[in-house]
Symmetry: C2
Subunit: 431 residues, 2 copies
């Protein structure tokens, strides 16, 4: 296969005619496919059916400390749920608060609280002229959405295969007191599937930010979301809570996790882990915001998964469903785009996404083409703050929701769209 | 029975000796009773056992619009839950958003959003020098807690048997642009059990506040929480959403409700009803804060209660448990304190509380005395902003949690504490 870049105008035109025919054929089918969001598939959701009835009587509703989960009380979560979520994050239960159904809400509320009440006695961000966040890119659109909603100025930091560019992170946080935070998905990152190296985690823990109220928002969303069973094919990252303690920066990080992609999306439980001082501040806030979270659902989770081993075993059932989907997409990409020089991607070992980098200036057009042919992708640009990918290159592929059959068709439409737009771009350049 | 105020010093001393002996006897029993919070009793919680398994299979998890409740989506709630909560509030479903397990959280988040983002285009409250709220007193401590946490200046407005003193409310909101809201529990109010008269509701709907972003926080927490089955013994209030529309003030009110005291406390569902413009603003905020609430739990509620008639019938089972408790407390109050002139109370027709007004300057001492004898009451002052009852008179009695047997004992301890402190006070005055 010759790279498209090496083809002359006539060859490009011929190729384009060929690709266009295939594309039109696909479009004619009137398909309706969705690879836009990291939604679990029906089969994955079915795996947790037993959770629906694991609490089936009034007597089942007691927490191990005797608290009746059907009543008020237990604002920080029932003990067994704190232990369970702590085990998932590798954090002692007394450094964990278990909350409602969405870790996104804990993150949002943390930013909101920092604006209205400040962080550990520092000036509320609403009283400051400027508040900035570092945003490793490509990244998670909903993270960037929160900071955009609060008017935070977002600064792009490029991702490397080891995590965010730490030279840049260190330099920026040390030199600018208005930089108050950084969004991180440290394991199987959204969308690239990159896991931070030990050095990256240690450098995070040893940051010397100018702002005393600088915080790392460590969204460990995919901490147990491996695609492979073999230990050597599973990424492991260092424990940021421990590393921050060792480095003398215990208050510098909030870690978040949830079971949204373990049990039910929107019907799971979430948790935050942090230092004692940070948790006290969160508890004080929560004391006004809520009497207690849904402890019945917390108990459901512990009764169903039992413990870390139980939930790890459950995640292997997810992996068995997810792995072939990832492999299908990547094999179509390799087969259809390999060697063409019009895009790059990696096969991740976990998480929910495959990140695709098209030729600069092509991502929006590719997503638009795919949509015309019935395939909804994540909006191009979504992986960057303000929805602006300066290169217009990155596209997030979310292979979880479609069935394997749909996925093969979807991947075909995607590669046809990539080819078509790339050919148009190359022809334009040669015009 | 002669009023204590008519007794002379010797009679008071003799009476005190007698009461003290009874009090010491009660104290000697080492009891542990709790009338502090509006928590449902075990028997009430047991009533909803069927809800635990009403969704028992994967197939049960589909909402009426085909949405899979186990997956992301449906940020405003599933249609049947919006209709259900709308019916409870008397509001069309398209004016309802169903949220998580706590209406308190919706209220908190509404105040928080007003501080960070402002209300319908008005200046964010965080940018204002002063923000004030009107607080009908006595009222709900968690309402006052939210505004206190945000540094809002709270202004007491006395309650009357018809609701808040509307002459004062009208005058205050018309004359002060910094008054941004008022906390209301319009039906079976916390703690007095007062339901607002039609005139009061209409005057609320017709308010002419100086502040364009003035909002009524209408916490309809006890809208279906009657103690009696007979229609004439059930309070009805006018529909504030409709009245505000009629009065040309559709945006002036947020109404809140939940099933915390219908199904499970902390395991229920909550909702907010308001105008289209207000709901759009809430939706925009929620879009950044959460992907979707726990729709499985929303569906559980609708499957279990079915509809308004179903939930009303269920509430009558609650009433059968609650009514004797209220009657026990009130009958002990009447029997032991009637005619003594040392306290006043009313028997409410619904809600969760009995409000007791002691002689001025006695409430704190009474609560302390009760505690010494093993009975935890709501802290004196809690029914007032900043925990400061200017008269030190009001005490909230929460009879729901204890068993009937415990309750009789608890009521005895309470009246002994009232008598003892009142006698001490009168003796002090005569000294």
């Amino acid at each position: 296969m010759r790279a498209y870049g090496e083809l002359n105008r006539e060859e490009l035109l011929a190729m384009k005619q060929e690709v266009e025919a295939s594309y039109e054929e696909a479009r004619g089918k009137g398909l309706k496919l969705d690879m836009s969001r990291g939604k679990p598939s029906k089969k994955q959701l079915d795996l947790a059916e037993g959770m629906l009835t694991v609490i089936s009587s009034n007597e089942d509703c007691m927490a191990e400390d005797g608290l009746d989960c059907r009543n008020y009380g237990g604002p920080v979560g029932i003990p067994e749920a704190r232990r369970f979520m702590g085990d998932i994050m590798g954090v002692p239960m007394d450094q964990v608060i278990v909350c409602g159904n969405a870790s996104l809400t804990i993150m949002f509320d943390t930013v909101s609280r920092s604006f209205t009440h400040g962080v550990l006695g520092n000036t509320p961000w609403s009283k400051l002229d400027r508040v900035k966040f570092l945003c490793p890119v490509p990244g998670y659109d909903r993270h960037f959405g929160i900071t955009e909603y609060f008017g935070v100025e977002m600064i792009n930091v490029p991702m490397t295969p080891e995590g965010p560019d730490m030279d840049l992170v260190e330099k920026l946080v040390a030199g600018d007191e208005s930089i108050k935070g950084i969004w991180c998905v440290p394991k199987y990152s959204n969308p690239q599937g990159i896991s931070y190296s030990d050095e990256t985690v240690r450098r995070f823990a040893s940051l010397k930010p100018a702002a005393k109220d600088f915080r790392i928002f460590w969204d460990n969303a995919y901490c147990i979301h491996h695609l492979y069973e073999e230990a050597e094919k599973q990424d492991q990252i260092l424990n940021i809570i421990e590393e921050c303690e060792k480095a003398g920066n215990p208050d510098m990080v909030y870690e978040f996790a949830s079971t949204s992609k373990v049990s039910f999306a929107g019907g799971g439980i979430s948790a935050v882990a942090s230092s004692k001082a940070n948790l006290e501040e969160i508890k004080r806030h929560m004391n006004y915001q809520i009497i207690s979270h849904d402890k019945i659902n917390q108990l459901r989770h512990v009764k169903f998964f039992r413990d870390l081993e139980g939930v790890k075993a459950h995640m292997m059932k997810h992996a068995a469903i997810m792995r072939p989907k990832f492999e299908t997409v990547v094999s179509v990409l390799e087969k259809e785009l390999g060697g063409l020089g019009i895009g790059s991607w990696q096969m991740p070992k976990g998480g929910y996404f495959i990140s695709f980098d098209a030729m600069p200036g092509c991502a929006r057009a590719i997503v638009a083409r795919a949509k015309e042919a019935g395939l909804v992708m994540t909006g191009a640009g979504a992986t960057y703050p303000y929805g602006k990918d300066p290169e217009d290159s990155n596209i997030r592929i979310a292979p979880s929701l479609p069935t394997p059959e749909e996925l093969a068709v979807a991947a075909d439409i995607f590669v046809l769209s990539v080819k078509l737009v790339s050919l148009e771009k190359l022809l334009e350049e040669k015009a």
